[in-house]
Symmetry: C2
Subunit: 257 residues, 2 copies
């Protein structure tokens, strides 16, 4: 039912209650893996700061840190003061909201080059989700002030931020229309296809059945049953534990119903 992995958030060092269950809390300090070298970042061209000139980087005095998150660790929590933005270098995180009854709904996921914590663009903003790593995940952390200041002087970055915002909105809308509409079979097929979109290979790593349920608004059992059925029908071929190759054309047939 509820999520029970390890948890902890940057700047939230103390224990805390999380929707009806206690979780072991760990400061992100433990996840710290060094100061980032943005100038030589391998993601430089695709990441948020693509448009910055070398001279811009000289103005950066606040530290930009890198973190390595273990699965189940959280980057930030709902309601925390949003003082940092993040970009994902590797791995996957889920953005979770909780309902009053304690059940969780995953409203988006973030992968390589995605930006997290856009809420920090508003001064005084707070995070609207829990961001929790689903795999070993590396992120870079920027002070919100830094991004705001650079953004107001640099039209390139400014446009990039706007574009990220639009992308997040498009994602949100797509989760509604694609992943919360239709039969369980359709939703799962659409989720699978989405995982390999704009990828060279049809290989993908699956989420836990519980997380899939929380993404699609179905139960863990239905997620499991459907995935198992897809495997039997060879729509999915399991190459290694929980890694699959997809039969894209046939999954598309199912997705559109």
């Amino acid at each position: 039912m509820g999520y029970t992995g390890a948890s902890g958030a940057l700047g939230a060092p103390n224990d805390e209650i999380q929707t009806s269950q206690m979780v072991k809390s760990v400061t992100l300090r433990e996840a710290w893996s060094g100061e980032a070298d943005c100038l030589n970042c391998s993601l430089r061209t695709s990441v948020l700061f693509a448009g910055l000139a070398e001279s811009d980087f000289e103005q950066i005095h606040d530290p930009i840190d890198q973190y390595t998150l273990k699965p189940g660790t959280s980057l930030y929590h709902t309601g925390d003061a949003a003082e940092h933005m993040f970009t994902v270098r590797t791995g996957v995180l889920k953005l979770v909201q909780y309902l009053p009854d304690g059940s969780q709904r995953i409203v988006r996921i973030a992968r390589t080059t995605d930006v997290l914590g856009l809420e920090a663009m508003l001064e005084g903003g707070t995070y609207q989700h829990d961001a929790i790593a689903l795999q070993p995940t590396e992120v870079c952390r920027f002070p919100a002030r830094l991004v705001r200041d650079l953004g107001s002087n640099n039209p390139e970055l400014h446009r990039e931020l706007i574009s990220r915002w639009q992308r997040a909105l498009n994602e949100a809308d797509a989760w509604l229309t694609e992943l919360s509409t239709g039969s369980a079979r359709q939703r799962i097929a659409r989720l699978l296809l989405r995982l390999v979109r704009d990828r060279e290979s049809s290989a993908c790593q699956l989420f836990s059945r519980e997380d899939m349920g929380a993404m699609l608004g179905i139960t863990t059992e239905t997620a499991s049953r459907t995935i198992a059925e897809f495997k039997r029908q060879s729509l999915l071929v399991e190459t290694s534990p929980n890694r699959f190759l997809l039969d894209i054309p046939n999954l598309k047939r199912i997705a559109e119903g």
Copy 2:
């Protein structure tokens, strides 16, 4: 099944196909109701341009027009070049996306002081929804260039735009967690409560059962049945055709289940 009202979009004067059914097309020209007088706008303090000084308005040369939309008329269509932004003066619009199978999903609604067409902030952007009036609706239309130019010079407006974006994102997430999760009873209760939030009275005008279904991911029949049941249980009191008073406390009980 599909929506069948009148339809037409600004800058899209010709007939067009709309997801498997033809609709009568009408230019927005017919809906034109004058040039806006922003300086003396009654919404001046709550609307997008709240932060602009009188001097800023002098720089505005492109026309800002007002339109009055009849129910069923569309303001813009998915894929149209986004060259204008809109604010809603009165009335309600739905933002619709269509699935490959032709069914529609309403991903958001816009009401007084809400901003539509933020997509226009990206140059070269296209609208991501169909925006269709659900009631007699008045909107103001701003050239996107104007908003972009003013925004880059005016930090106040800039912040306001960011804030609007964040609001849209929050709305989108809420539709997922509140309106696409749980039983039909719960979803409808949550939708009703949402309609009267931050309102003095508990009175509200309901949507068509079909639209409610498209908002909640349920069928027209289930929407109708549930509303009828709520009426029988006096959770809703019909004051005039399709206008209701809500029993807020008891609806809250249902909403949280």
